[in-house]
Symmetry: C2
Subunit: 316 residues, 2 copies
Amino acid sequence: MLAVHLENGIVSTQQTPVPQREPGFALLRMLVGGICNTDLELQRGYYGFSGTPGHEFVAEVVEAETRELVGKRVAGEINLCCTCCDWCRRGLGRHCPNRTVLGIVRHPGAFEEFFTLPERNLRVLADDLPTERAVFLEPLAAACEILDQVRITAGERVAVLGDGKLGLLIAMRLAAEGYEVHQFGRHREKLAIAERAGVATEIPEELPKAEFDWVVDATGSAEGLRAAVAMTRPRGTVIMKSTVHGGVTLDMAPVIVNEISLVGSRCGRFEAAMPWIGNPAIRLEEMLSDRFALAKAPTAFARAAERGVLKVLLMG
Amino acid sequence: MLAVHLENGIVSTQQTPVPQREPGFALLRMLVGGICNTDLELQRGYYGFSGTPGHEFVAEVVEAETRELVGKRVAGEINLCCTCCDWCRRGLGRHCPNRTVLGIVRHPGAFEEFFTLPERNLRVLADDLPTERAVFLEPLAAACEILDQVRITAGERVAVLGDGKLGLLIAMRLAAEGYEVHQFGRHREKLAIAERAGVATEIPEELPKAEFDWVVDATGSAEGLRAAVAMTRPRGTVIMKSTVHGGVTLDMAPVIVNEISLVGSRCGRFEAAMPWIGNPAIRLEEMLSDRFALAKAPTAFARAAERGVLKVLLMG
């Protein structure tokens, strides 16, 4: 079968055997995969990754212990957790210390013709949900995670910093919940998508200071995080939604004097994203920049890394 | 009258006129002042302070518009707020953007024979409360502030990092609330005070990793803050309780991946500290290292800065 391979920053494709399905696992045939910023970071060498990447997907179940799953179209939770530690028992398998992660940590990813996941990770998709919307379930769950972690009073103003894919999903998701969302970015075409979803958007010459009780940093940069802190009012909260690599130098004195909270936030529950994935208020179709056959993965990765490009899909 | 003067890192005393009492203000005669780490930081040049320091005090009311206050023994909130902004209306005058701060920001401090504060800042002390306990009201309020900001479920384990004055107050206050408190420090004699208050204490060779859901950093150092983050379990909270000056370089990737919250925390409500200031479970007397007459302030500041010394008092 055809599999994407990532090693030393080089994306290639190769022929490999169809993987063996272990007990409790399903064998999946990839229908669509989405290239995420994390995939581009793996390519840049973070986490010393080598293997098949890919964790955003829609697939068809080919083999499974549970008969009813076979033939079904599914998406899936990407953390493969042990099910028996404290974290797993609390429903927080995403923090299981024994976990592997699809296409990220010690489990081959979805960018190959066939791959495996535990059956318990799978979510069967509604027949009327387009595959090219369903492929956004994983990043939409990451956007929803914010509301699992902090309680934002209905109707409050929330600033979103950054207009990448995750920033747009967050802004649209929060706007759909009824918050007054202000998104600050650098790309007019990207911000226009959020604007159509009811988000107030701006390409600011200078970012506001101490103006929001809630600020989501989705810039992925140390500079963005520092700006997010400066935008936050005393007693306010910065949600750190994108990974900044290496040491970030922050002046903690204003964080302490102004009693600001910084909340790290990563991937989220699929259950929280399911009610929203079919909702047209989240303008997922407009976030699709390009599609490539799986065999063209090297070109697709290069395209996804271009400035101004949003979601690039790999078609199985 | 005699007043302590701090300028360019030099503590001196000088003769100055008794201050004028403005409308709404009380004229206070200092009984006891406590030297705080913030005073030592002012001396080291942070905030470009020049003038009379001092914000921990017990005083006698000499003149006031409210007759009943005259002759009373009082402590006082240190933030002089405008009373009419959004923050003040929400009872958060400590964050009022128009505030001055006793002995810290544009209002002469308590380390002088007579000083002034708005009457609304004053708290009349119970007759049976010893003055040398009451002088801890301000730092005890800062310790109590933690429980105003975060909700820690009853009985949970909390780690306190650092065994300075604030670290001890925090550890004893949280232990008195019923939490299982583990304090990590470097001074056997200081930790012994918390130990007697029911805190489990330790001078560790190496700090634990990912072991606590709640960690209070009271070290005042960037290194301590980094250690506090490393001690915190996924989804846990670090309360940043002591000011670290200058840029702090933190690796934010584990904060984000483990969804850790960092909560800045500063001074607190006197109302929250009042029920505890007379409680012998908070072993304040044991935290007294030395007493000096106001005229000996230069010596007192030098003593307070010595390693191993806890609270140094100035006697009016």
